[in-house]
Amino acid sequence: MWHRAKSEGTRLGTMMNNRLVDMTSGVSPRRARFQRVGQRVIVYGSGTAAVLPMLGLIGMIVVLLHEAIPAIRYNGFGFFTSSLWTIGNEYGTPVTSGGALHLPGEHYGAWPLIAGTLESSLIAIVVAMPIAIGAAILLVEKLPKAIGAAVGLCLEILAGIPSAVIGLWGIFSLGPFLAKVVYPALERLPNVPPLSIFHGGFVSNGQGLLTGGLVLAMMIIPLVASTARDLLRQVPTLTKEAAEALGMTETESFMTVQARWIRSGVIGAAVLGLGRALGETIAIALVTGSVLKLTPNIYGSMTTIAAAIVTQLDSAQGDPTGFAVRSLAEAALVLMAITLIVNVLARRLVRRSARATALPVGRESR
């Protein structure tokens, strides 16, 4: 109760409303009016500012829905299952069918895009999680503070570098390196179930699903690593010392103490990172080859919904009926839905981790 009262009391608004004395007494009426107007301007002005993002969000959803509804009607459920994405005969006479005006032969199946989005993000999260957590552990437990600061700067740079720049690096440096050194080695792995995904031909410039996934992993790593690092720093020393006193090695201590402490927070960060990976556009458009087809193996060219929107809009503008643009709006809607689900999931995980601590001890010792 007291806590609640305190948190309410830190706000100017409640103070203003609960005011017992008229604060404007003792000043001239003109000045008093001026002050009251000033108050009103601040409260209503900031209130308007607070409403704007929400209006923007609603506006975006309305715009997308309005644009996409004819496409949803015409494409039907095949949008999710069909693998053919074609604008049809650009010079044909537009026809009306399924309640929408479109070009003859126009067909939109987004399954390759949806599958590509999910596959690349899955690779990204699988690669990024262990690397980010491992780096955070070493950083917190072993390395001196100066190196920690330097690595922190590295993480910030990695998070800040524009995706177009990372994409160019993926094309010119990472892709060729992977195709020359890493992929041949991966292909030589034994053909048993978990490793058999690495079998199949790869293109010599290294542009494809795995390269895209790795680039995405790079973009998630800063988020997960910095979260894991901050959480690991909060683990109470007392609990760690208790583990050491029981004769545990550092590995065992990590598994029993730190891992439980950081678990839900790191999972939340990973899901947020997943959301970012699902929506990454330019880097993916550059390093995956941007082909609107399902990839036959893990190395193949592919594309994601986000990358397809950016690469296909140019040709979609060539559709005089505007139906191609509508279908892209439907794709954008699907992408938005996927990322929203992922984000809601992440927030729920993070919230739960904030409510219940993993260990019953230690919180008081701070």
Partner: protein, 326 residues
């Protein structure tokens, strides 16, 4: 052979067994730390690799004329793109800064009920989770085509602002929450009017946090490509200041499209654009670190407003120097 000896050879002594277990545990520990070191390697090396490869690609053909000439589509410089990026980033910072700071102030100070605040906050978080290409596409549909503004500056600014407002609002809100309750009470006890209290007492200590949020917004708007391609498009001339009906060039577009141009001069421009972008982002990161460093150093006198001599007296007193004599 005695019975005892047979038994002891069949089952290892407890001590031996313990030793074997501990050896295994130590081996696991070693593997664990090697794995951790490897993962740190995989975090740091790509960053350095990216920076080195950008520089190595740009430097051999580097010409200072990139800062003075416009791009021509087959070569030239990047003056138009650099100015465009600056105009877009600063315009976004101003627009999103006003909205975001207002939003943060309202959420931290004035929301009548916490339910409303959580709705606004949820909208912000949702907005922050939406991919930037969706913003760009909506801007294209609604502003460029729908309102017939054409590819131009204003749609780009609106779309980017919507994209970064949640970040500014969040950092403003957090910064305001960290300002102690006593400051507001003290201000009120002195009879300050609410606007004055907000301006002089509450916002001042929150300023570094708000600035960090704005720098983050600047970094995002410098680095984004997807929301700009179909709102600002690209132009080979320096922005004239027209808000609508005039495309604007920017660096990320140059990096994204010029790289596979058949003409080498254009390819070099893509490399130059990457280098300039990386330098800009690096500068912004360092700037935000500088702000944090400065506020940490000057934190006590920011809040207490001690003059230098007063501070010296205070430290003397705190060090047990007794009452400061003249």
């Amino acid at each position: 052979m005695t019975l005892e000896a047979i038994l002891s050879s069949a089952a290892p002594s407890p001590r031996l067994q313990r030793e074997r277990i501990s050896r295994r545990r130590r081996a696991i520990d070693r593997v664990w730390w090697i794995a951790c070191a490897l993962s740190l390697f995989f975090v740091v090396v790509p960053v350095l690799w990216v920076l080195v490869s950008i520089t190595a690609k740009a430097l051999p053909h580097w010409q200072w004329s990139v800062f003075t000439e416009n791009s021509t589509g087959v070569g030239g410089g990047l003056l138009n793109a650099i100015t465009g990026t600056l105009v877009i980033a600063i315009g976004t910072a101003i627009l999103a800064g006003c909205v975001g700071i207002g939003c943060g102030i309202y959420l931290a100070e004035f929301t009548p009920k916490s339910a409303i605040a959580s709705v606004f906050r949820g909208a912000g978080e949702t907005l922050a989770g939406i991919p930037s290409i969706v913003f760009g596409y909506c801007g294209y549909l609604a502003l460029v085509v729908g309102l017939h503004w054409g590819f131009s500056l204003l749609p780009a600014l609106i779309v980017l602002s919507l994209l970064v407002v949640p970040y500014i609002a969040k950092s403003t809100e957090i910064a305001l929450h960290q300002v102690p309750l006593a400051y507001r009470e003290g201000g009120e006890a002195l009879g300050m009017s609410m606007p004055y209290l907000l301006r002089k007492v509450v916002l001042r200590p929150a300023l570094p946090g708000i600035l960090t949020g704005i720098i983050l917004a600047l970094a995002i708007s410098v680095g984004e490509t997807a929301p700009l391609i179909y709102t600002a498009n690209f132009s080979n001339s320096v922005p004239s200041g027209a808000l609508i009906h005039e495309p604007v060039g920017y660096l990320t577009y140059a990096a994204y499209t010029f790289y596979d141009d058949p003409i080498p001069a254009a390819q070099h421009l893509a490399a130059d654009a990457s280098l300039i972008l990386a330098a800009m982002v690096l500068g912004l990161i360092l700037l935000s670190r500088l702000i944090v460093r400065l506020t940490q150093r000057y934190a006590p006198d920011r809040h207490l407003r001690l003059s230098r001599s007063e501070r010296r007296l205070a430290t003397k007193a705190a060090n047990g120097g007794g009452p400061p004599g003249r």
